[in-house]
Symmetry: C2
Subunit: 443 residues, 2 copies
């Protein structure tokens, strides 16, 4: 009998919680995003729970939102991933460390060098989340008046990836002999000068860092659009996508794994890990109350303005504590409008509750006990909706501590999650192969 | 009576030792540049000795040298400063952490954000060594066929500095109120949108990081050329220059401090710290023997080829173990040629010894006992040759451990060096003022 498939768990830690009301939750650390002592404690707790990875998204600008909402946002200040993750590498031993780096606003030589350095420093625990940066405000911080258009960003990303992986292969794995007697530090026949010239980049190389411990750091991608999914199928080893529910998840899962088949890649060599917001209670009711309390901390004035835009109808004059009435048809985006109305009906939400839910976090969520959450995760795994989850904690530290103390042991009891690390590298945790060097045969 | 001036000490740690034979020295760690366990141990040892700063130079390419020399060089693989220094920040508490970042091949938004992040993460210990990158091979790794010319690099550097410091001032020091009750995370009236548009950069801002602990991280520069010295006088707080000897040092010291006078800056607000290679023995003779042994580990074939170039005369056919004979006049650079001949005469070196000295390290060096080294350092301080030194260790760990165990206590005994840190930030260590925010009055 084949070994049972197990879940992979990442922690989505930038922002430490995606929920806009979280910093006001009782017992929360309002500065969790930007206090190294807290972040160190979180990473060590996640490592003790045997998480695969600590995952850092990134933004290259203060988020473009109205000032009334912005001034309430705990995301406005946070560490650069390439400062936080090396620091966490120094105070952890096994957990993977995944940093986002933009192919639109970075240079491939810098990116190759930083990830190679992090991989060496951490003993093979680095992962690169490739993003093309969709926030047009970022362009204004990098000398571009107009944001690069979507398809061009993806063409550039593909070439960027080719350059970075080529630079990682600058040295054979056994190039550094360090022979004190003869005085030979490395074998120059085992150094490759890349000499890349393409439409977007001209990069000579070689990299001034030895080949990474993992050969290449693990490649992550979000991969939502058509171009994004294809880039992911060609290059990614972990896809971290935002799925709205199991039905949607199974569709995307089948689509991406199907692309692997057509490319001749093994289905096991790309893991699909949707983001999931998890609220744990000792009863389902308690979990729902926690979520309702959290949502209630979202500022109503900002939330109702956003809801009016989503519905294409000014709902700010309605009774906030009554159910959402039937609304006339409008020109608002159908998807957003229908999703909001459907959510209000399904959970029987008042106007205020609906506004605050959408203003806080409204994507994929598991809200319940350790048992019901493990049930849902198991269903996703067994029915091929995902290979695991990138967990978003509702508030810190309580939401993280609850997940680790309650959900992880339940998953372990069911044989759905490891009880200890079985290897030392991030590739080991995911069961991913170590890439060969394109320029040198294995020693 | 005014308090006695004291020395400032930095450790020049990239490469961990600049001497090309160092990795072959008995007891040395051949991989010291690239082994985090060693580097952590070095940083903690330097902190226990109360060093001001751990300083990391940088190269954005494998050094351009003939392959016969390159394959013997321990510098070919080393960590990116922005991976190593955050990791060291997590395992130290007081020592300053100075990273080199190039204004020619980086973007100001990234640089501002990384240094601000490092300053917060380390509790105010970050320093930025501004370089314009003189290695033309670096340009080839960043899509430029030709290296930017010297004066243009300096004009770009000056604008880069203005943008970075402007981004550091994006928020008033008291902008982040995090008022849980009202839900206000920060005061938007205390956020400044930079809106910089200049010849080289267009950067909107604001930075997505709170103002650094130090206001601005401490600014370091090498400042050797005329343009470099002027940029240093206008912007730098520590100048790390390469001086050949005390006479040269006093000239450059007077020149740079004079520029400060003319700019209306206090002489105390820019510290001059030349690099100094220090070999410690229990007797002067023992120290000289250590250095001779170290020099003897430089590969003769590479060294004699370089010496021939420096002298403008093929000396490879001469008896390597005889003194350097008189040589006919040539077209070789007078400075290099005369310096080599003068060195051979002064120290009575054979051809081999001269070649290996120049191939290893031939700049400012203090070779002697703790007493003679402290005498020399004191003379530099008292006669205004420098405000301290950036120490280059001849080999690791012995050279570093000897300096800390023998020279530091002798300097402390004389009252020339602190016996404990008196503050927590790098500015505190140097006695530098915290810059005001150009957009907001102090709270």
């Amino acid at each position: 009998m084949a070994e049972r498939r197990r879940l992979h768990l990442g922690a989505f830690m930038r922002p430490t919680t995606i929920h806009t009301g979280a910093w006001r939750y009782p017992g929360a650390y309002p500065d969790a995003n930007f206090n190294f002592a807290h972040l160190k404690r979180f990473a060590q707790t996640l490592e003790a729970a045997k998480f695969d990875a600590f995952f850092m998204a990134d933004h290259l600008a203060v988020l473009n939102m109205p000032v009334e909402a912005l001034k309430r946002s705990h995301t406005v200040t946070s560490f650069d991933p390439f400062v936080l993750l090396p620091a966490l590498a120094a105070v952890t031993e096994r957990i993977g460390l995944v940093a986002t780096a933009s192919t639109t606003f970075e240079q491939p030589f810098h990116v190759a060098r930083r990830f190679a350095s992090l991989d060496h420093l951490s003993g093979g625990r680095a992962g690169w989340n490739i993003v093309t940066t969709s926030n047009p405000d970022a362009a204004l911080n990098f000398g571009l008046d107009e944001h690069m258009e979507h398809d061009e960003r993806y063409r550039r990303a593909r070439e960027f990836y080719d350059v970075v992986t080529g630079l990682w292969d600058s040295f054979a794995d056994d190039a550094f002999v360090r022979d004190v007697e003869s005085g030979i530090f490395f074998d120059p026949d085992k150094m490759h000068v890349l000499g890349h010239k393409g439409p977007y980049f001209s990069v000579r190389g070689p990299l001034n860092v030895a080949r990474p411990v993992q050969g290449w750091p693990v490649i992550f991608q979000a991969g939502a659009s058509e171009a994004g999914r294809q880039l992911a199928a060609e290059t990614a080893e972990v896809v971290f996508a935002g799925f709205s529910g199991l039905e949607d998840g199974r569709k995307v899962y089948a689509d991406i794994k199907g692309r692997l088949d057509r490319l001749g890649r093994s289905r096991d060599h790309l893991k699909i890990m949707p983001g999931a917001f998890v609220v744990v209670g000792d009863s389902v009711e308690e979990a729902r109350e926690k979520r309702a309390r959290l949502d209630s901390l979202v500022h109503y004035d900002s939330a109702i303005a956003s809801l009016s835009i989503a519905l294409g109808h000014d709902v700010s004059k309605l009774d906030p504590d009554a159910p959402l009435p039937d609304l006339p048809q409008t020109n608002a985006s159908h998807t957003g409008r229908e999703r909001a109305i459907e959510l209000a009906r399904r959970e029987n939400l008042t106007v205020r509750q609906l506004a605050q839910r959408l203003g806080g976090y409204s994507g994929l969520a598991f809200v319940g006990t350790a048992q019901t959450i493990a049930d849902e995760m198991e269903e996703w795994l067994v029915t091929e909706g995902s290979d695991g989850f990138n967990i978003m904690f509702p508030f810190l530290p309580e939401g993280l501590d609850d997940f680790v103390a309650k959900v992880v042991p339940e998953l372990q009891r069911r044989g759905l999650f490891r009880t200890d690390y079985e290897g030392t590298t991030l590739r080991d945790h995911f069961g991913l192969p170590r890439p060969g060097n394109r320029f040198f045969a294995a020693p």
